[in-house]
């Protein structure tokens, strides 16, 4: 394990690619040149991650499939707006997918139904990340396992606050109301939790 720290580089923990496979940046460049095969490869690489993200927001398989397709069409249409100066392709796609999923949830006025489902889930499993990161499920050689290890190191209340903010698009006030927690406590949980994840990921990146 290398211990050299890289404090000035932006952190990013990307999945490993097969040797010789085009990088995400190369695929984006080809998509900008309107190469459908590049989109096909990008889809194969990331449809599972993006669909998981969408499902985490809207909890509906059919709607998630529709939205996934719309998001890849948007990736195709908006590729010209992607700039490598501003970040990595996966980060750009995730930001786009999250926004679309949260917008979709609200537009379809399914929010109340999702809230009800969330309520049921919250009662059964206080935190989905905790549920997903039991010891036997963590494979340490896997990127997801490493990130989950960082996240699962947080107290459950901090994980829950971040989960509600990131995956449900809730404001601090909405989280406070949802969890019957004082607003100041929610803010502290978010701040502490995000800092720990941020620092943990930087550490992880420097060790990979």
């Amino acid at each position: 394990m290398r211990v050299t720290k890289s404090r000035t580089r932006p952190f990013s923990v990307s999945p490993q690619l097969e040797p010789g496979a085009p990088s995400d940046f190369e695929l984006m460049k080809a998509i900008q040149a309107e190469d459908p095969d590049a989109l096909s490869q990008l889809y194969d690489r990331y449809n599972g991650i993006l669909k998981a993200l969408i499902l985490r927001v809207i909890h509906n398989e059919a709607e998630a499939d529709d939205l996934l397709q719309e998001i890849f069409i948007e990736i195709w249409n908006q590729a010209k707006n992607f700039s490598s100066q501003k970040g990595k392709p996966l980060g750009w796609m995730v930001t786009l997918a999250r926004r679309r999923a949260i917008d979709g949830l609200r537009k379809k006025q399914a929010y109340a139904r999702a809230e009800e489902r969330l309520q049921n889930e919250t009662e059964q499993q206080p935190d989905a990340w905790v549920h997903n990161s039991t010891e036997e499920e963590i494979v340490l050689s896997d990127t997801r396992g490493l990130i989950q290890k960082v996240i699962s190191g947080l107290p459950p209340a901090q994980q829950q606050a971040i989960d509600l903010a990131f995956f449900r698009g809730m404001s601090q006030r909405e989280i406070a109301a949802k969890t019957n927690t004082p607003l100041g406590t929610v803010k502290t949980r978010l701040e502490l939790g995000l800092k720990k994840i941020y620092d943990g990921l930087k550490e992880l990146k420097s060790e990979l």
Partner: protein, 78 residues
Amino acid sequence: MNFKEFQNQSRLYVIGALEAEELEEFEKARKKFGKKAEDYIGECYGLHEAFALSLRPAKSSAAIKDSLMAMVRARKEA
């Protein structure tokens, strides 16, 4: 707001968790710190990628991809 406080707020900002009144202060500080602020916000967006990668990938039907690629090829030819 000092830069350390700005860093705390940046992490909330990128996940959309700042309240309206905090957002106003944040934007003022963002202008004050200039490029240093923009670089830090850019780094914080790495959190989006990490949260997505923390999830177990979900399966999609092959029909979704077939339909997507048909639409894309049709648009290209149009």
